[in-house]
Subunit: 309 residues, 2 copies
């Protein structure tokens, strides 16, 4: 690449699945000169050091951000205001502040008021992840061929936006820009509602009296197990997503429930044509996702291929 | 194995994903002497023959069942009564009649009245499948390490039940016996409701005005794509499941909706503790499923491992 390193001093606040994956990729490809890792919990910081994820480690945000030309918050979205407030006095002139949160309007509202005028806020959201969490969960190719959405304000320095864009392209991502409110509505339907529904059905199944937990587990290969993957996602991260994208989540949930009532009615009245039409329509979307390179086309996600073929 | 072949003449009616997988495994391991394949659509029958799935092929049910010591219906559950009626006059004395349907009470009620007294009905349900369908979708190891549930009546010949049990064990399955009504309630929660919900969310997402279909597709890696897999399942099969397990589906759907309302209320009122507690509880179930050998423990189902690691 012509002008790497992209940043001289990259500060990652939070070192879970996303933070550690950024660190691993940045290191692998020499995208930054120095990686400073900061996290609140001492044992997580130690683990990050043991994994050799960065170059410097501190539990003090004030120390961490000093001299950094880019700071990326990789923490649950509920922590942004507190972190922004704490780091603000120590930020270098011209620093780019970004994040990786799954909600964008709230993140802007939480961070913006605290930043000095010399700082550039370029919020980001890499659409990638697994059900794992923590610094051990990261891997350098997590973002390959996945989208990263940036939601800067119109008046934000284009130079700053282009640098973050370049950084995410170097992470392997395709980058798009979007209004934060639109982002939150899109993600409500592609991510937040699916997670809420998955958490819900797994909860319902574990609370039944007449069907035992061991039956649910034994016979889960008939559909249920697919839902347990996203229902195993990080509880703090997801609590914060729902608390900070309330409006869009409630609106999309309303639509989901309306549609479910229509299907329920079709089941009750034995309306086979309605069910068939609905079940046929939904088949095409998966094909679109596979064609867009966002999903494997192997049956059963190609899971357990070694014992299945 | 000591006493293979288990059956002399196995008749498979219907040759989709399940029927073709049975045929491939039976052939691979010499579990039966002759496989007779019957299906209504001429092109499917031709395709089965081209794939060399059986030994004899006919679109006439009367021909197909003649002389068979085992007949397995591998068709959507809505077809059972019609098939039972048509085949009844041609069944051999002592024949075992079985099926692979995802609903069991309705299957018993549809088949039983038509069978001659000399036939043994041993309904079955292999808890295995993929989102693919048709005779090309089958593979010999589909049932390996998956459960197969049998729901015979108490008065059914034990010899017949044990033969079907042995057959499914030879398919690679673990076998359990269960009351058909209980089966239908267990599967409502582990399979039917998850499918209905997945079909529903995929439908909701494709009907929004403000979020485009291309956005749903592009950003699906954030959760949504997991749901599209089961929402790509065979529409006729699933229409019939819902029409024939109405009561249990409606009951479980009622519970699901109640629980979802509670989560919705927590989102609306910002009850982070309730969300956190719920999201924590659901994590354990996946661990149970992985430990039970019913799911891979690789992140993201191990999907696309070649490009993700």
């Amino acid at each position: 690449m012509s002008d790497t390193p992209i940043f001289k001093r990259l500060c990652l606040i939070g070192i879970g699945l996303i933070g550690s994956s950024i660190a691993l990729r940045a290191k692998r490809d020499g995208l930054v000169e120095t990686i400073v890792i900061s996290t609140r919990r001492k044992e997580t910081l130690k683990r990050a050091e043991a994994l050799d994820l960065g170059d410097e480690y501190t539990d003090q945000i004030s120390e961490a951000v000093k001299g950094a030309d880019c700071v990326i918050l990789c923490t649950p979205v509920g922590t942004c205001a507190m972190i922004a407030e704490r780091m603000a006095p120590y930020l270098a002139d011209g620093v780019i502040v970004s994040d990786v949160g799954s909600v964008k309007r709230s993140v802007v509202d939480q961070i913006k008021p605290h930043l000095p005028a010399t700082a550039h806020l370029v919020p980001g959201h890499p659409i990638a992840g697994t059900e794992e969490s923590g610094p051990d969960a990261g891997f350098a190719t997590l973002f390959d061929n996945r989208w990263c959405l940036l939601t800067p304000e119109a008046k934000t320095s284009r130079e700053a936006v282009l640098k973050i864009r370049k950084f995410w392209e170097a992470m392997g991502s395709m980058v798009d820009e979007m209004d934060p409110d639109h982002h939150d509505r899109v993600l409500a339907v592609t991510s937040h509602i699916p997670h809420l529904i998955a958490y819900n059905i797994v909860g319902t199944a574990s609370d039944l009296e007449e069907v035992s937990q061991s039956e649910v587990i034994k016979f889960s290969a008939s559909g249920f197990r697919d839902f347990t993957r996203i229902a195993a996602s990080d509880p703090v991260m997801w609590r914060d997503v729902f608390l900070h994208n309330k409006e869009a989540v409630l609106e999309m949930l309303g639509r989901f429930s309306e549609d479910l009532s229509a299907l329920q009615k079709a089941v009750r009245w034995g309306d086979g044509d309605m069910l068939f039409d609905h079940f046929t329509k939904t088949r095409d979307i998966r094909r679109g996702i596979i064609d867009a390179g966002q999903e494997t086309d192997e049956p059963n996600f190609g899971r357990g291929k070694t014992d299945d073929t």
